[in-house]
């Protein structure tokens, strides 16, 4: 990355930060709704995933990184998701057979 000509421009970061704060307040307010356990968990985790995506993409500068970085991060997330899926599908069906 050529750094010399870059000027200090906090605007983009402040917009991302505002979105993060908005989502935080939204998820707190939504958690007050009586929509059952599964619904509340799905909403809370979805909002968290969007927030994490914003931090990864903008604050951690994945938007400026070459494709290989994005592929690496995607692979790490897929690995983690596979571990979750395998473990939880195992536990969900224990005691049935």
């Amino acid at each position: 990355m050529n750094t010399k000509e870059q000027s200090f421009s906090p605007r983009g970061s402040i917009i991302v930060f505002s979105a993060l704060i908005f989502l935080t307040i939204a998820t707190v307010l939504l958690s007050g709704l009586d929509i059952g356990n599964a619904g509340a968990l799905i909403i809370a985790m979805s909002v968290a995933a969007v927030k994490a995506g914003l931090v990864l993409y903008f604050f951690m500068h994945l938007n400026h990184e070459p494709l290989i970085f994005k592929l690496f991060v995607a692979l790490a997330i897929i690995t983690l998701a596979t571990l979750f899926l395998l473990t939880f599908s195992d536990y969900a069906f224990r005691g049935i057979a």
Binding site: S9, F17, T24, N37, A48, F59, M60, L83, F84, T87
Partner: protein, 221 residues
């Protein structure tokens, strides 16, 4: 150019992109560490859903939300610090780094008060040695006053997961102090800001982990 000169140049070559990619690989191992915690949380939560909800009610959503906002703000100031550094505004970069450290410390102080309130209610992590000596909390040790298993598990996971996270905050804050010192010395400068950038990546990852801890402990009660 002589062969020796080529070799020397190759030796001094610093691949900033490769260094960054390597640092991301380290961050993935952090993801796996916390990922394992989240799996344990998920499995026990599904096995003790009601107890987890009752225990989570005892956590203060206001404190959790405040700490979330503090950590998000610290992520913003960290990004601004790197932006300022790359734009050659070293003084601004240093101020932003100090604010980030301050916000991280504030997070820890609030977390400390929160933990203290739990200690006052006889909720803490206890070793098997302490239990053997009769020093365990009656709420967490087998006996007439013991909480249901699910709640004991919830508090155990709460202390382990927020504690491991707090440890990362401490490491991040100490690292920022070192980076601040190096900026003052001039070894980190607008042309050589890689260490500040990686410190920022670490800090943001710690923030990402909190983004998931927050709803699981404070919201889905």
């Amino acid at each position: 150019m002589s062969e020796q000169a080529v070799t020397v140049e190759a030796f001094h070559h610093h691949d900033e992109e490769g260094t960054r990619l390597g640092f991301w690989l380290f961050l993935f191992t952090e993801l796996l560490l916390f990922g394992a915690f989240f799996i344990v949380y998920g499995v026990y939560r599904s096995a003790h859903l009601n107890d987890f909800k009752i225990a989570a009610e005892s956590l203060n959503t206001g404190i959790g939300t405040t700490n979330t906002i503090i950590l998000l703000a610290s992520s913003l100031t960290m990004v601004l610090s790197l932006n300022a550094m790359k734009a050659g505004r070293v003084k601004l970069a240093k101020s932003m780094l100090l604010i980030t450290m301050g916000l991280g410390t504030t997070f820890l102080i609030i977390k400390g008060f929160e933990w203290n309130a739990k200690f006052a209610h006889h909720l803490f992590l206890q070793t098997s040695a302490a239990i053997a000596e009769g020093k365990g909390s009656p709420l967490l040790t087998p006996g007439p006053e013991m909480l249901p298993d699910g709640q004991v598990l919830f508090y155990g996971l709460y202390f382990i997961m927020t504690g491991t996270h707090a440890l990362h905050i401490i490491i991040g804050a100490v690292w920022m102090g070192i980076v601040y010192f190096w900026i003052s010395k001039g070894s980190i400068n607008p042309d050589n800001a890689g260490v500040l950038e990686r410190c920022g990546l670490y800090w943001h990852l710690v923030d990402v982990i909190w983004i998931f801890l927050f709803p699981l402990y404070y919201l889905v009660a």
